[in-house]
Structure formats: C-alpha cells, structure tokens
C-alpha cells in the first residue's frame, strides 16, 4: 500500500500572526474517536471536594500507594520497562512509605505481616531493582568487550546480589504457598490457580538443578499483582508479600470500591492493549 502525503499549502499575508502554511498528513485514516485515556479525570477531584480532613488524606494516600504499587508491578512484567517512569513511581512509593512510617500508619501495616519479612527494606526498591538489575546484568553481557571496561567488578558483585534476592523471593513463595489454598472466594481461587499454573508451567519447561533455581525463575509479579487485586476486595487472609497484605486492611471499606474500580480500569486497559 503506497503512502500518500496530502500537502495543503497556503500562505496568508495578514499581519503579525501565525498562519497555517502547510499540513502534511501521514496517514490513510484520521479519526480520533478513542477517548479511553482522556476520561476518568473527574472522579479523584470530586472526591477531594466532597470530604475533607485527615481521614480523606490517608485514604487518598493509600489509594495513591495502591495505584503506584500496581504500576510498579506492571512495569516489572515488562522485560525492559521505561526506567525513568519506574524510578519516579518507586520514589513516590518511597515517599509515601516514609511519611506513613513517620505518622505511624506504616507500623500497623508491618506488624500484621509475617515476622521474618524485612521491614527496613522498601518494597518499591525490591520491585524496581529486581527488574532493572536483571536487565542490566543481561545488557552488559550483550555488549561488546570494549564497552564493559568500566566497573566490571561491580557487575560481578551485582550478579551475586541478584541471586540473593532471588533466593529470598523463593523462600517467601514457599512459605506462603499453603495459605493460597485457604482462600475461599471463587474468584480469588481462579486468580491463584492461574499464577500457580504459571509457576508449574515454568517448572516443567526448565531443567534446572536445585529448587531455589526453579523458584528464582518464577516471575513473582503475577503473584504479587493478584494479591494486590484480591487484597482490594477486603480479604486480608493472604500473607505473601510483606506490605501488600496490610494495605487492604487499612483501606476503609468505603474507599475499597473506588480503588477496586480504578485498579480494574487499569488492568482492563492493559489487557485490552
């Protein structure tokens, strides 16, 4: 199909303003009817106007945190996420986390999670670093020798770290597995069934030697995202990732619905695209 340029060209001789000279259209069809990303602008601001006070603030903050965590999880699913965006989102999460730690609401969260979960460790850091480290490590391998001269030792150091982190994740996974089956809601079962299927699929297709290796290959993002989603439904029985669980408990029932909708919305968009 040949490509056509329509060039409509004029020049207006009136004073002092910009006139359209020329427009080049690089498409066969031009019809913006999609408003998918432009809508949904109102809800947040209306909510702000309707209610006031510290309660609203903490709910807002909570929903922002949830939203950010979902975004980070989705970044994590990509092989090569937009690093700038991931870093900015992760910093936002850190900021919220710090503030929540200061006013005490983070303590409540962490107390309810598993004891051995590393409290001092920022969840956002975990998520962000897990993906970018993998990426970098692989990326450096792909480069020609000329370019890897700088800080080769550091890379080795990082490779070790990655494997540490993977082990940690796999332990968490193993610990939490029994809990998964206690979930009673049908929908949630389906969610976890899916993630487990994914895990098993991965297991079958690999021929690695140790259990740790097997689990380190598993993409935990599916797992975490499910927890976020199900957590929103107000079910607090799930334990695995240290923070996400607690998130659901502090979120007020009234806000749960909106949050659920908005997360659904995001997921919908992603599924569709």
């Amino acid at each position: 199909m040949p490509l056509f340029f329509t060039s409509n060209m004029t020049l207006c001789l009136s004073k002092g303003r910009y006139v359209m000279v020329h427009k080049v259209e690089v498409s066969c069809s031009y019809n913006f009817e999609d408003k998918m990303f432009t809508r949904g602008m109102k809800r947040k601001c209306n909510a702000e106007e309707d209610i006031d006070g510290p309660l609203t603030y903490s709910v807002e903050r909570q929903s922002l945190l949830n939203m950010s965590l979902v975004k980070l999880q989705l970044c994590h699913m990509l092989v090569e996420p937009n690093l700038c965006r991931s870093v900015l989102i992760a910093n936002t999460v850190r900021q919220i986390q710090e503030e929540m730690t200061q006013d005490g609401s983070w303590q409540i969260l962490t107390a309810q999670t598993i004891a051995e979960a590393p409290v001092d460790r920022l969840l956002s850091t975990d998520i962000l670093c897990h993906s970018s480290k993998d990426q970098d490590q692989d990326g450096e391998k792909g480069c020609d020798d000329h370019y890897v001269t700088y800080g080769e030792e550091l890379e080795v150091h990082q490779v070790e770290e990655v494997s540490d982190l993977s082990t940690l994740t796999s332990i968490k996974l193993q610990n939490s597995q029994p809990h998964v089956w206690e979930v009673d809601s049908q929908q949630e079962k389906a969610h976890f069934q899916k993630s487990l299927e994914h895990i098993f699929e991965t297991l079958e297709s690999r021929n690695t030697s140790t259990v740790e290796d097997l689990f380190s290959e598993v993409d935990t993002s599916y797992y975490d995202l499910d927890t976020v989603l199900t957590g929103m439904m107000g079910n607090s029985k799930l334990s695995p990732p240290d923070v996400l669980d607690g998130v659901s408990q502090t979120a007020k029932p009234s806000s749960c619905k909106t949050e659920l909708n908005e997360v659904d919305h995001i997921v919908e968009i992603l599924v569709e695209s």
């Binding site: 490509l3 056509f4 340029f5 060039s7 409509n8 060209m9 004029t10 020049l11 001789l13 004073k15 303003r17 910009y18 006139v19 359209m20 000279v21 020329h22 427009k23 080049v24 259209e25 690089v26 498409s27 069809s29 031009y30 019809n31 913006f32 009817e33 999609d34 408003k35 990303f37 602008m41 109102k42 601001c45 807002e60 922002l64 939203m67 090569e80 937009n82 690093l83 700038c84 965006r85 870093v87 900015l88 992760a90 910093n91 936002t92 900021q95 919220i96 670093c129 480290k133 970098d136 990326g139 792909g142 480069c143 000329h146 370019y147 800080g151 990082q158 770290e161 995001i266 569709e272």
Partner: protein, 446 residues
C-alpha cells in the same frame, strides 16, 4: 493549492498489529522533528523507524505565495525492528532523536537514533551518471575483453534528479538503557549519546569505540533514585555539555576536568516551593528536555508544568519561569493514573532566542515572548485550521464561568499531545508534530 505527492521510498515491511481502538497507524506517529542548520530541510522520524526529509521550495516569481512550502525530499527506513536474543526482547524501531550535522559539501548528513543504535546517514542528490566505461557496458555487466578494441573516456550525462540516503556509520552496542538524546559537538567531529544512566562520547568516524563520559548508575541498583533525561553539548565550547535529571536538576560538565565527568562543574537546581508540595512534586519537576540557546549563555528546561530559562552564571534559580498549563496542577492525580504525567514534552528557542515554544495537550502548543512576557496558546488540528487560515489563539477556562471560544479543562483531550516541535534557525517558521500529522506554520510575510 492542493497537491498530492506519492512517496516512492521504502516502507517498513513489518507493521505492528493495531489495537482496535487506534484508527491511525501507530507506525506513523511522529516521534521527532528537526530543522537542519540552514532551515532548508526538515526531518521527521516516526515510530515505524522511518525518516522523512522535507525540502523548502525555492522562491519563485510566478508563485510568490508558494514560498515556504516544504515538500518531501527523501524518505527512508532508518531503523528496523530488531530482536535481542540475549535479553529476549524486541528493540523498537522508533526514532527517538534526529540531529543534523552542519553541511560541509553538497551532501547532507544526519544522525538518527532508536533506543539502542545511532546511525549516520548521508543524503545526497544525483543528477548525472557516468557513461562509457571501457570494461563495463551500460547495464554494468563486464564486457568480453575480446570486443574491447578501443579506449574511450567515460563522460557524465545528465539524468533525472535522484535523492539517495545511505547509512554511513552504525554506532551500536554501547547502550544498556534507552537512548534519550544525541547531540553533535561544536567541533563537528564528535557527538554524544545519552541513555537513562550513562552518556557516551563518539567520534563520528569511529563506530567500534566510544568513551563513557557520565555514569550515574549506582553500584547498588537499590539506591537508584535518579536517571538522566536529556543531554546537550554547548553550541560553541566543545568541552562543555549539560544533562538533566529526573529530579529536576541540570548538571554542567567540563570534559577537560576529567575523562569521566561524574563530578559536575555546575549544578542548577531550584529549591522546592513548600506551598506546592505534593506526592507528585518530584515527578512534575523531572526535566523532559534541555536546550542551550544559540549563544550558549542560557539553558532552557522543560518540566511537566513549566518551561524555565537558566543563566549559566546563576545556579540557584532560573531567571525566567513560564507556566505551560498550570490548570493541570489540580489534575495531577488523574494524570498520574492515566500515565500522562510521564509524557516527555520538548521545548525550542526561536532563531533570535526571544521566543520559546513548547507543546501541551489537546493539540495545543504554547509560545512565550521573553521580552514582552506575552504568551499565546495555539492549536494544531485539522478541524480548526484550514490552509491559509490564521491561527486563532485558544484559551483554556480555569475558573467557573466559561466564555465563548474557551475550552474547559475537563474537555481537554489528553490523547492529543504535542511533544515535538521545531523552529526554523533564522525565520519564523515552525514545525509541530501532532500524533501522526506534521503542521508547518509560518509567521506572516509583509
């Protein structure tokens, strides 16, 4: 005057499968626009990896109103989609940036880059071809030596003008992250390419070696809180360059001080306004573009809501700040939710550095006159701008009452964004990329 031009160039063989809700070709979305140093040529790059070069029509006595028209000069496939087997990921063919090299002979040279690879292209005209070789016939086949009985001198014969684009250099394998900027140095021998965490310096002649001049990758990636968002060389001092970061800072580096410019010479940063503090403060202060003015005395930066002009001699605050779309400040949460807050708007100077231009949403773009402090919002859209028409200034209604001709903040279309614009180096001609359309506007003449 309406004409239809058929593009004879190559088309990308691989096209992405289109989601049902996108009626236009994703590959056609313009991702960069750049005038060459004389303004005679204008290059665009798109998501499909193509580069289209427009040439300005020569002034003609017969058709004086046609002056300023840009017509397609050459189009070629600069980058193809690739697959990185080691990382098992697709490398997009999208052209992130185009930079022209100053013209030194009859041919034109430009650098184009996607996420990973920079290419040097030569664009040249040919209107003559050699004829009468001794060993080859006109089709280029070798002649049977037995039939060669006389010697002749080959001659050049005129032929139809042909514009060829040939890749002269391919600079690959030096970037682990996504390249966001390239900048040709004023020595015209070197250029730099910047990705999220590193900046490399290249010689235009040498493709298998580059020098790492900035590396902000922390030894421990858990400590990563900042990335490089844009970088540019000083227009006259070949040892000086700046780069901006996601934390809203600009660093000026001097390559004479050390080989690895991890220590900046100057750090430009404005203290945060406590009254505007929110969880989005850092995101909206992230700089999406940085540009030296023509003299090299000032730097312009674009963040999400503003354009700022900095004096190289004053690091603690910008000398000018312009609000691009301050009415979005109350919408940040929604813009975060729909990811618009991460849009990377670019900014440009006019030829005399007296006006700056940058894009916004709803196909709006903004111009700020630095002397009179006046600003204008214009719209690049097919619906509202008939050829020959004067662009009407647009107004976004902020308060409660909406006047006629005003558009309310809630009805802005956030899918129509103007991220890339270019200004002719000496005249008041601007090029505005609105999704898959390129608009060229000209200031009135006479």
């Amino acid at each position: 005057m309406t004409g239809e031009l058929k593009i004879l160039g190559q088309k990308s063989q691989t096209r992405k499968i289109l989601p049902f809700y996108l009626p236009f070709q994703i590959a056609d979305i313009i991702s960069t626009v750049e005038f060459n140093n004389t303004g005679e040529l204008l290059a665009t790059g798109d998501k499909g990896g193509r580069v289209v070069i427009f040439q300005r029509e020569q002034e003609s006595k017969n058709l004086p109103h046609r002056r300023g028209e840009y017509n397609v000069y050459s189009t070629f496939q600069s980058h193809e989609p690739e697959f990185d087997y080691l990382k098992s990921l697709e490398i997009e063919e999208k052209i992130n940036k185009i930079r022209w090299l100053p013209q030194q002979n009859a041919a034109y040279f430009l650098l184009s880059t996607n996420d990973k690879t920079v290419k040097l292209w030569k664009v040249s005209e040919r209107d003559k071809r050699p004829e009468g070789y001794n060993l080859k016939d006109e089709e280029g086949r070798l002649r049977d030596p037995c039939t060669i009985t006389t010697l002749r001198v080959p001659v050049l014969r005129p032929m139809d003008l042909m514009v060829e684009a040939t890749p002269r250099r391919v600079f690959s394998n030096a970037h682990t992250y996504h390249i966001n900027s390239i900048s040709v140095n004023s020595d015209y021998e070197t250029y730099m390419s910047a990705d999220d965490l590193r900046i490399n310096l290249w010689n235009l002649e040498i493709t298998n070696r580059s020098f790492n001049i900035v590396d902000i990758k922390p030894t421990n990636m858990e400590e990563l809180t900042e990335v490089i968002t844009a970088a540019e060389f000083h227009p006259h001092h070949c040892n000086t360059f700046v780069y901006s970061s996601s934390k809203g800072t600009i660093r000026l580096c001097d390559m004479r001080s050390s080989a690895l410019c991890d220590k900046h010479s100057k750090l430009f940063e404005e203290p945060e306004d406590p009254s505007n503090r929110s969880f989005f403060s850092e995101i909206i202060s992230s700089i999406s573009d940085v540009k030296f003015n023509h003299s090299g005395r000032y730097i312009m930066t674009r963040d999400y809501l503003t354009v700022k002009v900095w004096d190289l001699n004053m690091e603690n605050r910008p000398i000018e700040t312009y609000q691009v779309h301050d009415y979005l400040r109350s919408k940040l949460c929604s813009l975060y939710e729909n990811d618009c807050i991460f849009d990377k708007f670019e900014c440009v100077w006019n030829g005399s550095d007296s006006v700056i231009m940058t894009g916004s949403y709803n196909n709006f773009f903004r111009m700020f006159d630095r002397n009179t402090k006046r600003d204008v919002t214009l719209e690049a859209s097919r619906e509202n701008s008939k050829p020959r028409a004067i662009l009407k200034p647009r107004k976004v209604c902020v308060g409660g009452k909406r006047r006629k001709d005003e558009i309310s903040v809630d009805s802005l279309d956030f899918s129509k964004k103007i991220l890339h614009t270019a200004w002719h180096p000496s005249e008041n001609i601007i090029a505005v990329a609105a999704t898959n359309n390129l608009y060229i506007f000209q200031d009135k003449v006479n």
